[in-house]
Protein backbone atom coordinates (compact mmCIF):
# COMPACT_ATOMS: atom_id res chain seq x y z
CA UNK A 1 0.00 0.00 0.00
CA UNK A 2 1.43 3.38 -0.93
CA UNK A 3 1.72 6.00 1.76
CA UNK A 4 -0.75 8.38 0.11
CA UNK A 5 -3.30 5.63 -0.32
CA UNK A 6 -2.83 4.57 3.26
CA UNK A 7 -3.41 8.12 4.41
CA UNK A 8 -6.46 8.52 2.21
CA UNK A 9 -7.96 5.36 3.59
CA UNK A 10 -7.29 6.44 7.16
CA UNK A 11 -9.18 9.63 6.41
CA UNK A 12 -12.01 7.65 4.83
CA UNK A 13 -12.22 5.47 7.92
CA UNK A 14 -12.54 8.54 10.12
CA UNK A 15 -15.24 9.87 7.80
CA UNK A 16 -17.09 6.56 7.97
CA UNK A 17 -17.01 6.60 11.76
CA UNK A 18 -18.63 10.03 11.83
CA UNK A 19 -21.10 8.96 9.16
CA UNK A 20 -22.25 5.96 11.18
CA UNK A 21 -22.79 8.09 14.25
CA UNK A 22 -24.71 10.68 12.27
CA UNK A 23 -26.86 8.04 10.56
CA UNK A 24 -27.87 6.73 13.97
CA UNK A 25 -28.51 10.20 15.37
CA UNK A 26 -30.64 11.12 12.36
CA UNK A 27 -32.79 7.99 12.42
CA UNK A 28 -33.13 8.10 16.22
CA UNK A 29 -34.26 11.69 16.19
CA UNK A 30 -36.65 11.19 13.28
CA UNK A 31 -37.95 7.94 14.80
CA UNK A 32 -37.75 6.49 11.33
CA UNK A 33 -35.56 5.67 8.39
CA UNK A 34 -33.54 2.70 7.24
CA UNK A 35 -30.34 2.45 9.28
CA UNK A 36 -29.44 -1.12 8.30
CA UNK A 37 -28.95 -0.36 4.62
CA UNK A 38 -27.19 2.91 5.44
CA UNK A 39 -24.58 1.23 7.60
CA UNK A 40 -23.90 -1.44 4.96
CA UNK A 41 -23.20 1.31 2.39
CA UNK A 42 -21.17 3.62 4.62
CA UNK A 43 -17.63 2.40 3.99
CA UNK A 44 -18.09 2.40 0.23
CA UNK A 45 -19.49 5.94 0.23
CA UNK A 46 -16.68 7.16 2.48
CA UNK A 47 -13.99 5.85 0.11
CA UNK A 48 -15.84 7.02 -3.00
CA UNK A 49 -16.25 10.58 -1.75
CA UNK A 50 -12.89 10.91 -0.01
CA UNK A 51 -10.76 9.34 -2.74
CA UNK A 52 -12.56 9.56 -6.08
CA UNK A 53 -15.49 11.92 -6.49
CA UNK A 54 -14.55 15.18 -8.24
CA UNK A 55 -17.14 17.53 -6.79
CA UNK A 56 -17.21 21.05 -5.42
CA UNK A 57 -19.26 21.70 -2.27
CA UNK A 58 -19.13 25.44 -3.01
CA UNK A 59 -20.62 24.82 -6.45
CA UNK A 60 -22.71 21.65 -6.25
CA UNK A 61 -23.92 21.98 -9.85
CA UNK A 62 -20.40 22.52 -11.22
CA UNK A 63 -20.76 21.25 -14.81
CA UNK A 64 -17.52 19.27 -14.68
CA UNK A 65 -18.47 17.19 -11.63
CA UNK A 66 -18.60 13.45 -11.26
CA UNK A 67 -22.07 12.13 -10.59
CA UNK A 68 -23.23 9.89 -7.79
CA UNK A 69 -26.76 8.51 -7.75
CA UNK A 70 -28.19 6.73 -4.75
CA UNK A 71 -30.67 4.48 -6.51
CA UNK A 72 -31.50 2.78 -3.19
CA UNK A 73 -32.95 6.07 -2.00
CA UNK A 74 -34.01 4.79 1.40
CA UNK A 75 -30.34 4.85 2.43
CA UNK A 76 -30.22 8.62 2.01
CA UNK A 77 -29.07 9.24 5.61
CA UNK A 78 -25.78 7.65 4.51
CA UNK A 79 -25.63 10.10 1.62
CA UNK A 80 -26.47 13.05 3.87
CA UNK A 81 -23.80 11.85 6.27
CA UNK A 82 -21.10 11.82 3.60
CA UNK A 83 -22.31 15.19 2.27
CA UNK A 84 -21.83 16.57 5.78
CA UNK A 85 -18.29 15.16 5.88
CA UNK A 86 -17.48 16.71 2.50
CA UNK A 87 -18.91 20.16 3.20
CA UNK A 88 -22.13 20.12 1.18
CA UNK A 89 -24.29 20.09 4.30
CA UNK A 90 -23.80 21.21 7.86
CA UNK A 91 -23.91 18.94 10.88
CA UNK A 92 -26.55 21.22 12.36
CA UNK A 93 -28.92 19.88 9.74
CA UNK A 94 -29.04 16.36 11.19
CA UNK A 95 -32.10 17.38 13.16
CA UNK A 96 -33.97 18.10 9.92
CA UNK A 97 -34.05 14.51 8.66
CA UNK A 98 -37.64 13.65 7.66
CA UNK A 99 -38.90 17.00 8.99
CA UNK A 100 -41.10 19.46 7.11
CA UNK A 101 -38.47 22.19 7.37
CA UNK A 102 -34.88 21.90 6.23
CA UNK A 103 -33.06 20.13 3.45
CA UNK A 104 -33.02 16.46 4.50
CA UNK A 105 -36.22 14.76 3.30
CA UNK A 106 -36.86 11.06 3.92
CA UNK A 107 -35.83 10.20 0.35
CA UNK A 108 -33.40 12.03 -1.92
CA UNK A 109 -34.58 15.22 -3.58
CA UNK A 110 -32.33 17.00 -6.06
CA UNK A 111 -34.55 20.06 -5.77
CA UNK A 112 -33.91 20.43 -2.06
CA UNK A 113 -30.49 19.10 -1.13
CA UNK A 114 -27.17 20.43 -2.47
CA UNK A 115 -24.94 17.62 -3.71
CA UNK A 116 -27.83 15.42 -4.75
CA UNK A 117 -28.28 15.20 -8.51
CA UNK A 118 -31.40 13.07 -8.77
CA UNK A 119 -34.47 12.45 -6.68
CA UNK A 120 -35.14 8.83 -5.89
CA UNK A 121 -37.26 6.68 -3.65
CA UNK A 122 -38.85 4.48 -6.26
CA UNK A 123 -36.36 1.67 -6.73
CA UNK A 124 -34.78 0.71 -10.02
CA UNK A 125 -34.33 4.13 -11.60
CA UNK A 126 -30.78 5.23 -10.81
CA UNK A 127 -28.74 3.25 -13.32
CA UNK A 128 -30.71 4.65 -16.26
CA UNK A 129 -30.05 8.16 -14.97
CA UNK A 130 -26.35 7.43 -14.52
CA UNK A 131 -26.22 6.17 -18.09
CA UNK A 132 -27.78 9.41 -19.33
CA UNK A 133 -25.15 11.53 -17.60
CA UNK A 134 -22.40 9.22 -18.86
CA UNK A 135 -23.65 9.47 -22.45
CA UNK A 136 -23.75 13.26 -22.10
CA UNK A 137 -20.17 13.28 -20.82
CA UNK A 138 -19.08 11.20 -23.82
CA UNK A 139 -20.91 13.60 -26.13
CA UNK A 140 -19.15 16.54 -24.47
CA UNK A 141 -15.79 14.78 -24.62
CA UNK A 142 -15.20 15.06 -20.87
CA UNK A 143 -13.81 12.41 -18.53
CA UNK A 144 -16.64 12.78 -16.02
CA UNK A 145 -17.74 9.58 -14.32
CA UNK A 146 -21.14 8.40 -13.15
CA UNK A 147 -21.39 6.25 -10.03
CA UNK A 148 -24.62 4.63 -8.95
CA UNK A 149 -25.34 2.59 -5.85
CA UNK A 150 -28.01 -0.08 -6.10
CA UNK A 151 -29.55 -2.16 -3.38
CA UNK A 152 -29.53 -5.91 -3.82
CA UNK A 153 -33.29 -6.18 -3.35
CA UNK A 154 -33.57 -3.33 -5.84
CA UNK A 155 -32.23 -5.68 -8.49
CA UNK A 156 -35.68 -7.26 -8.59
CA UNK A 157 -36.78 -4.19 -10.54
CA UNK A 158 -36.82 -4.81 -14.30
CA UNK A 159 -35.60 -1.34 -15.24
CA UNK A 160 -32.19 -2.14 -13.75
CA UNK A 161 -31.70 -4.89 -16.32
CA UNK A 162 -32.82 -2.64 -19.17
CA UNK A 163 -30.26 -0.11 -18.02
CA UNK A 164 -27.56 -2.76 -17.66
CA UNK A 165 -28.03 -3.57 -21.35
CA UNK A 166 -27.89 0.11 -22.26
CA UNK A 167 -24.59 0.72 -20.43
CA UNK A 168 -23.03 -2.34 -22.01
CA UNK A 169 -24.32 -1.55 -25.49
CA UNK A 170 -22.91 1.97 -25.44
CA UNK A 171 -19.70 0.73 -23.79
CA UNK A 172 -20.08 3.26 -20.99
CA UNK A 173 -16.69 2.85 -19.34
CA UNK A 174 -17.48 5.97 -17.32
CA UNK A 175 -20.30 4.19 -15.50
CA UNK A 176 -19.60 2.33 -12.28
CA UNK A 177 -22.47 0.53 -10.54
CA UNK A 178 -22.05 -0.60 -6.96
CA UNK A 179 -24.34 -3.28 -5.56
CA UNK A 180 -24.71 -3.03 -1.80
CA UNK A 181 -25.09 -6.79 -1.42
CA UNK A 182 -26.17 -7.10 2.20
CA UNK A 183 -28.50 -10.01 1.40
CA UNK A 184 -31.46 -8.69 3.40
CA UNK A 185 -34.57 -6.83 2.29
CA UNK A 186 -37.76 -5.66 3.98
CA UNK A 187 -39.59 -9.00 3.98
CA UNK A 188 -36.59 -11.16 4.84
CA UNK A 189 -33.45 -12.50 3.23
CA UNK A 190 -33.08 -12.17 -0.51
CA UNK A 191 -32.89 -15.91 -0.83
CA UNK A 192 -36.24 -16.24 0.94
CA UNK A 193 -38.00 -13.44 -0.92
CA UNK A 194 -36.55 -13.88 -4.41
CA UNK A 195 -33.03 -15.07 -4.94
CA UNK A 196 -30.60 -13.23 -7.19
CA UNK A 197 -28.96 -16.54 -8.07
CA UNK A 198 -25.47 -16.22 -9.46
CA UNK A 199 -25.31 -12.45 -9.35
CA UNK A 200 -21.80 -12.12 -10.70
CA UNK A 201 -22.63 -14.33 -13.68
CA UNK A 202 -25.64 -12.17 -14.40
CA UNK A 203 -23.61 -8.93 -14.56
CA UNK A 204 -20.85 -10.69 -16.51
CA UNK A 205 -23.30 -12.04 -19.05
CA UNK A 206 -24.82 -8.59 -19.50
CA UNK A 207 -21.43 -7.39 -20.72
CA UNK A 208 -20.14 -5.70 -17.59
CA UNK A 209 -16.70 -5.86 -16.08
CA UNK A 210 -17.54 -7.30 -12.67
CA UNK A 211 -15.52 -7.04 -9.48
CA UNK A 212 -16.52 -8.77 -6.24
CA UNK A 213 -15.26 -7.30 -2.99
CA UNK A 214 -15.78 -7.19 0.74
CA UNK A 215 -17.63 -3.88 1.00
CA UNK A 216 -16.11 -3.15 4.39
CA UNK A 217 -12.45 -3.77 3.43
CA UNK A 218 -10.99 -0.36 2.64
CA UNK A 219 -8.17 -1.59 0.46
CA UNK A 220 -10.53 -3.73 -1.59
CA UNK A 221 -12.99 -0.84 -2.00
CA UNK A 222 -10.18 1.51 -3.01
CA UNK A 223 -8.74 -0.94 -5.51
CA UNK A 224 -12.12 -1.74 -7.01
CA UNK A 225 -12.79 1.90 -7.87
CA UNK A 226 -9.29 2.22 -9.30
CA UNK A 227 -9.85 -0.87 -11.43
CA UNK A 228 -13.18 0.54 -12.66
CA UNK A 229 -11.47 3.73 -13.78
CA UNK A 230 -8.71 1.78 -15.50
CA UNK A 231 -11.10 -0.53 -17.33
CA UNK A 232 -11.77 1.04 -20.72
CA UNK A 233 -13.86 -1.52 -22.59
CA UNK A 234 -17.21 -0.94 -20.88
CA UNK A 235 -19.06 -0.36 -17.62
CA UNK A 236 -17.90 -1.82 -14.32
CA UNK A 237 -20.04 -3.37 -11.60
CA UNK A 238 -18.70 -3.66 -8.09
CA UNK A 239 -20.59 -6.34 -6.21
CA UNK A 240 -19.85 -5.36 -2.65
CA UNK A 241 -20.58 -8.05 -0.10
CA UNK A 242 -21.72 -6.12 2.93
CA UNK A 243 -23.33 -6.59 6.31
CA UNK A 244 -26.59 -4.85 6.98
CA UNK A 245 -26.23 -2.72 10.10
CA UNK A 246 -22.42 -2.95 9.92
CA UNK A 247 -20.62 -1.40 12.90
CA UNK A 248 -23.38 -1.72 15.49
CA UNK A 249 -23.37 -5.13 17.16
CA UNK A 250 -27.10 -5.49 17.68
CA UNK A 251 -27.97 -4.29 14.20
CA UNK A 252 -25.59 -6.42 12.19
CA UNK A 253 -27.25 -8.89 9.86
CA UNK A 254 -30.64 -8.34 11.48
CA UNK A 255 -33.47 -7.89 8.98
CA UNK A 256 -35.50 -5.94 11.54
CA UNK A 257 -33.10 -3.00 11.14
CA UNK A 258 -34.00 -2.53 7.49
CA UNK A 259 -36.60 0.03 8.52
CA UNK A 260 -36.49 0.79 12.24
CA UNK A 261 -35.10 3.65 14.26
CA UNK A 262 -32.87 3.10 17.27
CA UNK A 263 -34.38 4.11 20.61
CA UNK A 264 -32.54 6.63 22.80
CA UNK A 265 -31.04 3.80 24.81
CA UNK A 266 -30.00 1.85 21.70
CA UNK A 267 -28.49 5.01 20.28
CA UNK A 268 -26.29 5.45 23.35
CA UNK A 269 -25.09 1.85 23.18
CA UNK A 270 -24.38 2.21 19.45
CA UNK A 271 -22.53 5.49 19.81
CA UNK A 272 -20.39 3.94 22.57
CA UNK A 273 -19.53 1.01 20.30
CA UNK A 274 -18.54 3.40 17.53
CA UNK A 275 -16.43 5.73 19.69
Amino acid sequence: MSQSMEQALQEAKAVAKNMRKNILVMTNRAKGGHPGGCLSATDILAVLYKCYMRVDPKNPRWPGRDYFFLSKGHAVPAHYAVLIETGFLSKDELKDFREIEGRLPAYPSCEITPGIDMSSGSLGQGLSVANGTALAAKLNGTDQRAYVMLGDGELHEGQVWEAMMTAAHFKLNNVCAIVDYNKLQLDGSLDEVKTLGDLRAKWDSFGWHTIEIDGHDYEQIYNAFAEAIAFKDGPTAIIAHTIKGKGVSFMEDEVGWHAAAPSDEQLQIALKELS
Binding site: C110, M118, T133, A163
Partner: protein, 311 residues
Amino acid sequence: MMIAPREAYGKALVELGKENKDVVVLDADVAKASMTILFKEVFPERFFDLGIAESDIIGTGAGFAVAGKIPFVNAYANFLLGNGWDQIRISVCYANKNVKIIGHNIGASSGKDGPTHLPLEDIALTRAFPGMTVIEPVDGIEIKKAVKALAQHVGPAYMRVGRLPIPVVTKEDDEFIIGKANTIRSGSDVTIIACGVMVSKALAAAEALSGEGINAEVINMHTIKPLDKEAILKSVEKTGAVVTAEEHTVIGGLGGAVAEFLACTKPLPMKIVGSQDRFGVCGSYEEIHQVLGLTSEKIIEAAKDVIKAKK
Protein backbone atom coordinates in the same frame (compact mmCIF):
# COMPACT_ATOMS: atom_id res chain seq x y z
CA MET B 1 -54.19 20.03 -47.01
CA MET B 2 -53.29 17.02 -44.90
CA ILE B 3 -49.98 16.49 -43.06
CA ALA B 4 -48.93 13.54 -40.94
CA PRO B 5 -47.97 15.04 -37.57
CA ARG B 6 -45.05 12.65 -37.17
CA GLU B 7 -43.51 13.76 -40.46
CA ALA B 8 -43.74 17.40 -39.47
CA TYR B 9 -42.28 16.46 -36.09
CA GLY B 10 -39.30 14.61 -37.58
CA LYS B 11 -38.49 17.55 -39.84
CA ALA B 12 -38.91 20.01 -36.98
CA LEU B 13 -36.44 18.03 -34.87
CA VAL B 14 -33.84 18.32 -37.62
CA GLU B 15 -34.32 22.09 -37.76
CA LEU B 16 -34.08 22.29 -33.99
CA GLY B 17 -30.94 20.16 -34.02
CA LYS B 18 -29.29 22.66 -36.34
CA GLU B 19 -30.12 25.57 -34.06
CA ASN B 20 -29.44 23.98 -30.69
CA LYS B 21 -26.53 21.63 -30.15
CA ASP B 22 -27.76 20.65 -26.67
CA VAL B 23 -30.74 18.82 -28.15
CA VAL B 24 -30.44 15.04 -28.04
CA VAL B 25 -33.02 12.57 -29.31
CA LEU B 26 -33.78 9.21 -27.74
CA ASP B 27 -35.99 6.56 -29.24
CA ALA B 28 -37.22 3.12 -28.20
CA ASP B 29 -36.90 1.18 -31.44
CA VAL B 30 -39.62 3.09 -33.25
CA ALA B 31 -37.47 5.69 -35.01
CA LYS B 32 -38.93 4.87 -38.41
CA ALA B 33 -42.46 5.29 -37.08
CA SER B 34 -41.79 8.33 -34.90
CA MET B 35 -39.71 9.84 -37.74
CA THR B 36 -36.87 10.61 -35.38
CA ILE B 37 -34.88 8.72 -38.00
CA LEU B 38 -34.71 12.05 -39.85
CA PHE B 39 -32.76 13.50 -36.90
CA LYS B 40 -30.59 10.38 -36.73
CA GLU B 41 -29.62 10.77 -40.38
CA VAL B 42 -28.36 14.32 -39.83
CA PHE B 43 -27.08 14.08 -36.24
CA PRO B 44 -26.15 10.44 -35.62
CA GLU B 45 -23.92 11.37 -32.65
CA ARG B 46 -26.86 13.01 -30.88
CA PHE B 47 -29.31 10.19 -31.51
CA PHE B 48 -29.66 7.26 -29.10
CA ASP B 49 -31.78 4.19 -29.72
CA LEU B 50 -32.27 2.45 -26.40
CA GLY B 51 -34.24 -0.46 -27.77
CA ILE B 52 -37.60 -1.61 -26.48
CA ALA B 53 -37.15 -0.29 -22.97
CA GLU B 54 -39.53 2.55 -22.17
CA SER B 55 -38.72 2.76 -18.46
CA ASP B 56 -35.01 2.95 -19.18
CA ILE B 57 -35.39 5.55 -21.92
CA ILE B 58 -37.19 7.94 -19.56
CA GLY B 59 -34.50 7.54 -16.91
CA THR B 60 -31.72 7.96 -19.44
CA GLY B 61 -33.41 11.09 -20.71
CA ALA B 62 -33.51 12.39 -17.14
CA GLY B 63 -29.77 11.71 -16.88
CA PHE B 64 -29.11 13.74 -20.03
CA ALA B 65 -31.08 16.57 -18.45
CA VAL B 66 -29.02 16.33 -15.24
CA ALA B 67 -25.99 16.92 -17.46
CA GLY B 68 -27.60 19.99 -19.08
CA LYS B 69 -28.79 18.46 -22.35
CA ILE B 70 -32.30 18.88 -23.77
CA PRO B 71 -33.53 15.34 -24.37
CA PHE B 72 -36.52 14.56 -26.61
CA VAL B 73 -37.61 11.07 -25.55
CA ASN B 74 -39.75 9.21 -28.08
CA ALA B 75 -41.88 6.07 -28.13
CA TYR B 76 -45.47 5.07 -28.74
CA ALA B 77 -47.51 7.00 -26.20
CA ASN B 78 -49.25 3.93 -24.79
CA PHE B 79 -46.01 2.09 -24.06
CA LEU B 80 -44.01 5.15 -23.03
CA LEU B 81 -46.63 6.31 -20.54
CA GLY B 82 -47.56 2.79 -19.49
CA ASN B 83 -44.07 1.49 -18.83
CA GLY B 84 -42.44 4.80 -18.02
CA TRP B 85 -45.04 6.33 -15.73
CA ASP B 86 -43.18 5.90 -12.45
CA GLN B 87 -39.93 7.07 -14.06
CA ILE B 88 -41.71 10.16 -15.36
CA ARG B 89 -43.18 10.70 -11.91
CA ILE B 90 -39.91 10.51 -9.94
CA SER B 91 -36.92 10.96 -12.27
CA VAL B 92 -38.57 13.65 -14.41
CA CYS B 93 -41.39 15.49 -12.63
CA TYR B 94 -40.48 15.19 -8.94
CA ALA B 95 -36.85 15.83 -9.88
CA ASN B 96 -38.02 18.72 -12.09
CA LYS B 97 -35.82 17.72 -15.02
CA ASN B 98 -35.94 19.33 -18.43
CA VAL B 99 -37.11 16.26 -20.33
CA LYS B 100 -39.38 16.42 -23.38
CA ILE B 101 -41.51 13.32 -23.51
CA ILE B 102 -43.00 12.71 -26.93
CA GLY B 103 -45.87 10.24 -27.14
CA HIS B 104 -46.43 8.92 -30.66
CA ASN B 105 -49.33 7.19 -32.45
CA ILE B 106 -51.74 8.99 -30.15
CA GLY B 107 -55.50 8.48 -30.13
CA ALA B 108 -56.68 6.44 -33.08
CA SER B 109 -53.88 7.63 -35.32
CA SER B 110 -52.23 4.26 -35.77
CA GLY B 111 -55.52 2.98 -37.20
CA LYS B 112 -55.65 -0.71 -37.91
CA ASP B 113 -53.09 -1.61 -35.26
CA GLY B 114 -56.06 -1.75 -32.93
CA PRO B 115 -56.82 -1.35 -29.22
CA THR B 116 -53.40 -2.18 -27.71
CA HIS B 117 -51.83 0.52 -29.89
CA LEU B 118 -54.43 3.26 -29.48
CA PRO B 119 -53.48 5.50 -26.56
CA LEU B 120 -56.64 7.18 -25.32
CA GLU B 121 -55.48 7.79 -21.74
CA ASP B 122 -52.14 9.59 -22.08
CA ILE B 123 -53.39 13.13 -21.40
CA ALA B 124 -54.96 11.93 -18.14
CA LEU B 125 -51.77 10.14 -17.16
CA THR B 126 -49.47 13.09 -17.78
CA ARG B 127 -51.77 15.87 -16.68
CA ALA B 128 -51.85 14.45 -13.17
CA PHE B 129 -48.15 15.13 -12.59
CA PRO B 130 -47.21 18.33 -10.75
CA GLY B 131 -45.11 20.58 -12.95
CA MET B 132 -45.85 18.77 -16.19
CA THR B 133 -46.72 20.74 -19.32
CA VAL B 134 -49.04 18.87 -21.71
CA ILE B 135 -49.32 19.83 -25.36
CA GLU B 136 -51.19 18.52 -28.38
CA PRO B 137 -50.41 20.53 -31.50
CA VAL B 138 -53.34 20.97 -33.82
CA ASP B 139 -51.60 20.20 -37.10
CA GLY B 140 -48.35 19.72 -38.98
CA ILE B 141 -47.66 23.45 -39.10
CA GLU B 142 -48.19 24.01 -35.40
CA ILE B 143 -45.96 21.05 -34.49
CA LYS B 144 -42.91 22.87 -35.86
CA LYS B 145 -43.60 25.79 -33.54
CA ALA B 146 -44.37 23.48 -30.64
CA VAL B 147 -41.02 21.68 -31.00
CA LYS B 148 -39.17 24.99 -30.89
CA ALA B 149 -41.23 26.20 -27.95
CA LEU B 150 -40.60 22.96 -26.07
CA ALA B 151 -36.85 23.37 -26.47
CA GLN B 152 -37.04 26.88 -25.04
CA HIS B 153 -39.39 25.91 -22.22
CA VAL B 154 -37.48 24.74 -19.15
CA GLY B 155 -39.11 21.85 -17.32
CA PRO B 156 -40.90 18.55 -17.86
CA ALA B 157 -43.22 18.44 -20.84
CA TYR B 158 -45.32 15.92 -22.71
CA MET B 159 -46.35 16.29 -26.34
CA ARG B 160 -48.76 14.14 -28.34
CA VAL B 161 -47.86 13.32 -31.95
CA GLY B 162 -50.14 11.42 -34.33
CA ARG B 163 -49.22 9.00 -37.08
CA LEU B 164 -51.74 9.37 -39.92
CA PRO B 165 -52.27 12.63 -41.84
CA ILE B 166 -54.69 15.15 -40.38
CA PRO B 167 -56.07 18.42 -41.79
CA VAL B 168 -54.04 21.60 -41.54
CA VAL B 169 -56.01 24.36 -39.86
CA THR B 170 -53.31 26.94 -39.02
CA LYS B 171 -51.04 29.14 -41.07
CA GLU B 172 -47.27 29.53 -40.90
CA ASP B 173 -47.51 32.97 -39.27
CA ASP B 174 -50.08 32.02 -36.61
CA GLU B 175 -48.75 32.46 -33.10
CA PHE B 176 -47.94 29.53 -30.84
CA ILE B 177 -47.25 30.19 -27.18
CA ILE B 178 -47.29 27.38 -24.62
CA GLY B 179 -50.25 27.94 -22.31
CA LYS B 180 -51.99 30.44 -24.57
CA ALA B 181 -55.04 29.14 -26.40
CA ASN B 182 -55.84 30.25 -29.95
CA THR B 183 -59.41 31.25 -30.74
CA ILE B 184 -59.72 30.34 -34.37
CA ARG B 185 -63.39 31.09 -34.97
CA SER B 186 -65.52 33.67 -33.20
CA GLY B 187 -69.05 33.00 -32.10
CA SER B 188 -71.52 33.96 -29.41
CA ASP B 189 -73.83 30.96 -28.85
CA VAL B 190 -71.52 28.18 -27.72
CA THR B 191 -67.79 27.66 -27.07
CA ILE B 192 -66.17 24.60 -28.57
CA ILE B 193 -62.79 23.87 -27.00
CA ALA B 194 -60.82 21.22 -28.85
CA CYS B 195 -57.30 19.88 -29.26
CA GLY B 196 -55.44 18.00 -31.97
CA VAL B 197 -57.35 16.54 -34.87
CA MET B 198 -60.65 17.34 -33.13
CA VAL B 199 -60.12 21.03 -33.84
CA SER B 200 -60.72 20.44 -37.54
CA LYS B 201 -63.87 18.52 -36.64
CA ALA B 202 -64.95 21.36 -34.36
CA LEU B 203 -64.50 23.79 -37.24
CA ALA B 204 -66.61 21.56 -39.48
CA ALA B 205 -69.24 21.39 -36.74
CA ALA B 206 -69.20 25.18 -36.35
CA GLU B 207 -69.67 25.57 -40.06
CA ALA B 208 -72.65 23.22 -40.05
CA LEU B 209 -74.13 24.94 -36.99
CA SER B 210 -73.85 28.33 -38.67
CA GLY B 211 -76.19 27.00 -41.39
CA GLU B 212 -78.76 26.56 -38.62
CA GLY B 213 -78.20 30.05 -37.27
CA ILE B 214 -75.95 28.98 -34.39
CA ASN B 215 -72.68 30.87 -33.96
CA ALA B 216 -70.04 28.66 -32.39
CA GLU B 217 -66.71 29.91 -31.11
CA VAL B 218 -63.85 27.44 -31.64
CA ILE B 219 -60.77 27.42 -29.45
CA ASN B 220 -57.63 25.45 -30.29
CA MET B 221 -56.50 24.42 -26.80
CA HIS B 222 -53.09 23.13 -27.89
CA THR B 223 -51.82 23.35 -24.32
CA ILE B 224 -53.91 21.20 -22.03
CA LYS B 225 -51.71 22.00 -19.06
CA PRO B 226 -51.27 24.72 -17.97
CA LEU B 227 -54.82 25.41 -19.10
CA ASP B 228 -55.51 28.88 -20.50
CA LYS B 229 -58.25 29.68 -18.01
CA GLU B 230 -58.42 33.29 -19.06
CA ALA B 231 -59.28 32.38 -22.64
CA ILE B 232 -61.94 29.94 -21.46
CA LEU B 233 -63.56 32.48 -19.13
CA LYS B 234 -63.48 35.20 -21.76
CA SER B 235 -65.25 32.95 -24.22
CA VAL B 236 -67.85 31.37 -21.94
CA GLU B 237 -68.80 34.71 -20.43
CA LYS B 238 -69.93 35.53 -23.95
CA THR B 239 -71.47 32.18 -24.92
CA GLY B 240 -72.66 30.65 -21.64
CA ALA B 241 -72.22 27.09 -22.85
CA VAL B 242 -69.27 24.87 -23.65
CA VAL B 243 -68.40 21.69 -25.53
CA THR B 244 -64.97 20.08 -25.46
CA ALA B 245 -63.62 17.63 -28.03
CA GLU B 246 -60.54 15.46 -27.84
CA GLU B 247 -59.11 12.28 -29.34
CA HIS B 248 -58.87 10.78 -25.86
CA THR B 249 -61.03 9.28 -23.15
CA VAL B 250 -63.55 11.65 -21.58
CA ILE B 251 -61.94 10.79 -18.23
CA GLY B 252 -59.20 13.17 -17.17
CA GLY B 253 -58.33 14.74 -20.50
CA LEU B 254 -59.03 18.14 -22.03
CA GLY B 255 -62.71 17.89 -21.09
CA GLY B 256 -61.76 16.93 -17.57
CA ALA B 257 -59.41 19.87 -17.27
CA VAL B 258 -62.01 22.34 -18.54
CA ALA B 259 -64.74 20.79 -16.34
CA GLU B 260 -62.55 20.92 -13.22
CA PHE B 261 -61.98 24.59 -13.85
CA LEU B 262 -65.49 25.65 -14.84
CA ALA B 263 -67.33 23.57 -12.23
CA CYS B 264 -65.46 25.42 -9.50
CA THR B 265 -65.37 28.83 -11.16
CA LYS B 266 -68.32 29.34 -13.43
CA PRO B 267 -70.68 26.36 -13.63
CA LEU B 268 -72.56 26.27 -16.91
CA PRO B 269 -73.96 23.74 -19.38
CA MET B 270 -71.13 21.55 -20.65
CA LYS B 271 -70.60 18.39 -22.70
CA ILE B 272 -67.43 16.43 -23.27
CA VAL B 273 -66.91 14.77 -26.66
CA GLY B 274 -64.37 11.97 -26.50
CA SER B 275 -63.99 8.24 -26.18
CA GLN B 276 -66.57 6.96 -23.67
CA ASP B 277 -64.50 4.97 -21.17
CA ARG B 278 -63.65 2.19 -23.59
CA PHE B 279 -60.81 0.79 -25.66
CA GLY B 280 -60.45 1.38 -29.38
CA VAL B 281 -60.99 -1.08 -32.20
CA CYS B 282 -59.18 -2.15 -35.37
CA GLY B 283 -60.18 -0.09 -38.36
CA SER B 284 -59.30 2.88 -40.49
CA TYR B 285 -58.62 6.18 -38.72
CA GLU B 286 -62.08 7.48 -39.61
CA GLU B 287 -63.83 4.18 -38.83
CA ILE B 288 -62.37 4.19 -35.33
CA HIS B 289 -63.41 7.79 -34.84
CA GLN B 290 -66.97 6.80 -35.83
CA VAL B 291 -66.99 3.94 -33.32
CA LEU B 292 -65.54 6.11 -30.54
CA GLY B 293 -67.84 9.03 -31.28
CA LEU B 294 -65.07 11.42 -32.28
CA THR B 295 -67.07 13.12 -34.99
CA SER B 296 -68.38 16.51 -36.06
CA GLU B 297 -71.90 15.11 -35.65
CA LYS B 298 -71.24 14.39 -31.96
CA ILE B 299 -69.94 17.92 -31.50
CA ILE B 300 -73.00 19.38 -33.24
CA GLU B 301 -75.30 17.28 -31.08
CA ALA B 302 -73.47 18.32 -27.92
CA ALA B 303 -73.51 21.99 -28.93
CA LYS B 304 -77.27 21.92 -29.43
CA ASP B 305 -77.73 20.17 -26.08
CA VAL B 306 -75.74 22.73 -24.10
CA ILE B 307 -77.41 25.65 -25.86
CA LYS B 308 -80.78 24.13 -24.96
CA ALA B 309 -79.64 23.75 -21.35
CA LYS B 310 -78.85 27.47 -21.04
CA LYS B 311 -81.45 29.40 -19.07
